[in-house]
């Protein structure tokens, strides 16, 4: 199964790390940014409020200073006598002594200065060439109808007048402080206005002061009167022409109107302004100048307040971005370095599956878990190689052992001898052999069947020893009991303390005389079937297994009539102790039945039938013990 990149460790790990890191960055930066903005705004507000309050205070001091001028003049006029000359002198002095005063006038009510004098208004004012005098009232200037005169007359109180241009449509912006000179009426009832004393001040210093307010790059200050008229502003075309309310109307900004009203009514404030005054969203801090009731506003664009923090965060985001890219690279490299040995091992596995055990993982020189895995893998492959070698050895051993078993079945003098052996491992401890006994005359045949304790290589070695020992001894003289006893003695020496032993059933058949001799050394008795009488009998006898007691003397047993058609069946216990998948044992009955049913066939066929039943019974289950059987059939027909 090919590895898709999207499933790989490299991809997944990188994605995960990157994803989570980005998320964490985003959260942290986002929170930081919004919190910073909050703090910055609060700081900006504080600074702005302080600035506007302090400047407003300065302006207030100036205004207060000016109010003194008419105030003093009025006190003087109230308490002293005066004529044209003294009046002129005092007005002139007032102007001379107070540089912030541009000009000063005392305007009298009709007949109030002198009977018959309809109007009298001495006015002193500054020029480049010193302080000049003129009568303010004239044919073209009816001072009675002017605000500076009319308003304090009606109100009977001092007040600051709405600012105006010094010259028509332009010039210096001025404002006037008027103080009414009241006198008690002759009948002592109501007070009457006798004259209005005014001081004009130029607002140039105000314009300059406000223009010099430091409010960042594009922020600025402005002043508006108590009816909203713009008195100073960076946009000259607005001065004295627009009020904050007319601007609000022209730009359709109702919030601006409300702010204007708030500025007139409240002492100070800090609010969001919208974009009408500066073209972009801004904040405004404002403070009232109590004496004239005017308002100072400090406007600064929102973008400027957050400019620094924006730049900071742009940089931070950039750095974070770079960091993420680096992280991406490092993470990918790390993941790959981890994945590569795994891929190498995966590739090595493929080769192992194909049978190529010659793999070299020495390139993986890591000390971590992956390195451990690589080492374990290498050990495993070495183990596999070892097993492979062992398997080869076993296979060789199997070949050798198979060659030790009879290569073919015997048919001698009418006797049919067939044997079959199935090992549960490559090598086994079961064995059977057909041996010629005595002096090579081929008439006496020895049939041995044996079962070494256990199975596997150790049993196989023992089986080979016994086989050759038996063959060697059988070729010498002696009866089979002696033969077996000698073999036993030898075997006891060979097995020493290993505890191994071998059961054996050795049968000697004289094919001429049909005489049977046998020795039973701890093995299951042979079974004889007589088809004529359909009966089974045993070839018993006593004797312990070989390899146990060196001094044991074995007995031989004899049977004289091995008649036609009779079948001798020798087997190891693996046959009837074979289990099927249910765990049931085959038992002897099916075997006996097989012998019975196939009694007319030859030995080979009988063996095959038995093994057939065995295989069918066992099924897919792995056999636990070696299975060996030998069938000897007397096929000789006796001539009667």
């Amino acid at each position: 199964m090919r590895l898709r990149f999207s499933n790989s460790i490299t991809f997944k790990m990188t994605l995960l790390v990157l994803g989570f890191t980005s998320l964490v960055f985003a959260l942290v930066l986002g929170y930081n940014y919004s919190y910073s903005r909050k703090i910055i705004l609060e700081e900006a507000e504080m600074k702005a409020r302080n600035l506007t309050l302090s400047v407003a205070n300065k302006i207030e001091q100036e205004f207060r200073a000016v109010t003194k001028v008419p105030q003093h003049l009025v006190s003087f006029l109230k308490t002293n006598d005066y004529n044209k000359m003294t009046l002129n002198r005092i007005i002139r002095e007032m102007v001379a002594d107070n540089p912030e005063v541009f000009g000063s006038v005392v305007g009298f009510e009709s007949n109030a200065f002198e009977k018959g004098l309809q109007s009298y208004s001495p006015y002193y004012y500054r020029t480049r060439n010193g302080i000049k005098y003129l009568q303010l009232g004239s044919a073209s200037y009816n001072y009675f109808q002017r605000d500076w005169y009319h308003l304090p007359k009606v109100l009977k109180e001092p007040l600051w007048i709405e600012p105006y241009f010094h010259r028509r449509g332009g010039g210096i912006i001025m404002t006037t402080y008027s103080f009414p000179l009241l006198e008690r009426a002759k009948d002592g009832a109501a007070t009457k206005v006798k004259a209005i004393v005014s001081a004009d001040i130029s607002l140039e210093w105000l314009t300059w002061l406000v223009a010099s307010m430091r409010l960042g790059r594009t922020g600025y200050g402005f002043i508006m009167s108590d009816i909203g008229t713009i008195v100073t502003h960076p946009r000259e075309e607005w001065i004295m022409r627009q009020s904050i309310f007319s601007l609000a109307e022209e730009y359709g900004d109702s919030r601006l109107r409300q702010i204007g009203r708030a500025m007139i009514r409240e002492e100070s404030g800090f609010v969001e302004l919208g974009s009408t005054l500066t073209g972009e969203d801004a904040f405004i801090a404002y403070a009232r100048i109590p004496s004239p009731g005017w308002s100072l506003g400090a406007v600064f664009p929102r973008s400027e307040i957050f400019e620094d923090v924006c730049v900071l965060y742009e940089r931070t985001v950039l750095l974070a971005g770079l960091g993420l890219v680096l992280l991406l690279i490092v993470s990918a490299l790390m993941a790959r370095s981890m994945a590569r040995p795994l891929l190498q091992m995966s590739e090595a596995t493929r080769r192992v599956v194909r049978g190529d055990l010659d793999i070299d993982l020495s390139g993986i020189r890591r000390k971590d878990e992956v390195g451990q895995l690589a080492q374990a893998f290498a050990r495993m492959v070495a183990g596999l190689q070892e097993r492979e070698r062992m398997q080869q050895s076993l296979n060789l051993a199997k070949e050798v052992q198979q060659n030790l078993l009879p290569k073919s079945n015997l048919k001698v003098n009418g006797f049919d001898i067939a044997g079959k052996s199935v090992y549960c491992d490559e090598t086994g401890g079961d064995y059977y052999d057909f041996i010629s006994i005595g002096d090579n005359d081929k008439q006496k045949i020895g049939v041995a069947i044996g079962d070494v304790s256990g199975h596997g290589i150790s049993s196989a070695l023992l089986m080979a020893t016994v086989r050759s020992s038996l063959r060697q001894r059988a070729s010498l003289t002696g009866n089979i009991a002696k033969i077996i006893s000698d073999v036993n003695r030898q075997l006891v020496q060979d097995v020493e303390d290993s505890g191994q032993f071998m059961t054996m059933f050795f049968l000697a058949l004289d094919t001429a005389t049909r005489q049977l001799e046998w020795v039973r050394a701890g093995h299951d008795p042979g079974i004889v079937y007589d088809p004529g009488s359909d009966s089974f009998s045993e070839l018993g006898g006593s004797g312990i297994a070989l390899g146990v007691d060196a001094e044991w003397v074995y007995e031989d047993n004899k049977k004289t009539d091995f008649s036609n058609g009779q079948i001798i069946f020798l087997s190891t216990d693996g046959v009837w102790e074979a289990r099927n998948k249910k765990g049931e044992m085959l038992g002897k009955k099916p075997i006996l039945n097989a012998i019975r049913q196939n009694s007319s066939s030859d030995a080979t066929q009988i063996i095959d039938a038995i093994f057939d039943i065995l295989n069918k019974f066992i099924g897919e289950v792995k056999i636990e013990d070696d299975i060996t059987s030998v069938v000897i059939k007397n096929n000789k027909f006796e001539k009667l």
Binding site: L151, I227, S243, F245, S246, E250
Partner: protein, 323 residues
């Protein structure tokens, strides 16, 4: 080579064609409004700027009016051909011997009003009792006087002049204002409509037309066609102004700035839209420029009642415009 020559020939020929076909040279006349350049004279400014007077064969000079000049005095002194002015004032002038005639009645309804602060306790006419009211002098006192008399209230009257500061600084509880001018100034000084009580004299049976176009009787008799053409062009100017608000506001601002009046677009726009309601009430084009006899009679009654005149001149002697 031939095309440019033909073009050149046509260019040189055309003006001469014009002069050949023009019957008479342009008549040089002048108009003096009764106040500073503002949107209440938009019709004349537009007619001048868009060439309507020129089309009518009139070379018009538009004088700058103001508080220091009486428009009727200028006309009677021969310093201007035509003037714009109040009906009440014109009738009073005619009665006192100045032979002016009304060529057209522009403003059909009274825009005069009293503006009071609700917080001074004035909500209905009767509440004026004992209050201080700022009133403009002269013909502007006709309606208020009758109003106070009608509701039997005693008020202390204080003269009001051009600024509204007397009212804004709290010197008076109420003040006269024009709906299209000073009222808006009060609003743009920071007062909201819901803080004010408004009294329109036209709502109290004291309605009468205001601005109209006048000239000396001799001027009219000497050339009635000229006067008619002048009125036509002026009315055409007003119609254009009502249909082209933005352009008109710009033209008015141009004239106002030239006279350094220190106004702004928001104010002129307000004035222009309110002029439309006063000059063409309910959008009725048929009444444009006409003085109705019943309105003239009613105005005369109010003037008599207030003592400004003792008799009302004949309608046909006074009004020479279209019926």
């Amino acid at each position: 080579m031939r095309k440019p020559l033909i073009l050149l020939f046509l260019i040189l020929w055309f003006p001469s064609v014009n002069t050949v076909f023009a019957e008479t040279p342009l008549k040089k006349v002048s108009l003096i409004p009764q106040w500073i350049p503002q949107a209440s004279f938009a019709g004349y400014i537009v007619a001048l700027e868009k060439g309507f007077y020129l089309e009518a064969g009139i070379d018009l000079t538009l004088h700058e009016g103001g508080p220091d000049k009486s428009s009727f005095a200028q006309v009677s002194a021969g310093k201007a051909t035509f003037c714009s002015g109040w009906l009440a004032y014109a009738i009073a002038q005619r009665v006192s011997g100045l032979r002016v005639v009304n060529l057209a009645q522009i403003i059909q309804r009274s825009a005069l009003m009293l503006v009071a602060r609700k917080s001074s306790g004035i909500k209905r006419p009767k509440d004026f009792n004992g209050k201080i009211v700022g009133l403009w002098e002269g013909q502007w006192r006709v309606q208020p006087r009758i109003f106070f008399h009608k509701f039997d209230v005693k008020v202390r009257i204080v003269p009001a002049y051009t600024s509204m500061n007397l009212f804004l600084k709290g010197g008076v509880d109420a003040i006269t204002a024009m709906w299209y001018n000073e009222y808006h100034k009060i609003l743009n000084s920071g007062l909201n409509p819901d803080e004010l009580s408004l009294f329109f004299f036209s709502d109290f049976g004291l309605n009468m037309p205001e601005d109209g176009l006048y000239c000396m009787e001799e001027t009219f008799k000497a050339d009635p066609q000229l006067c008619a053409r002048f009125v036509q062009a002026s009315l055409k100017g007003w119609l254009y102004a009502f249909n082209h608000e933005d352009e008109t506001v710009e033209l008015v601002m141009k004239h106002a700035d030239a006279a350094h009046t220190g106004t702004n677009r928001a104010h002129q726009r307000w004035m222009l839209t309110h002029m439309k309601a006063l000059i063409m009430p309910e959008g009725d084009k048929n009444r444009l420029g006409k003085l109705r006899p019943e309105d003239y009679t009613h105005a005369g009654q109010l003037l008599k009642e207030s003592g400004m005149i003792d008799r009302l001149p004949r309608f046909d002697d006074f009004y020479v415009g279209s019926q």
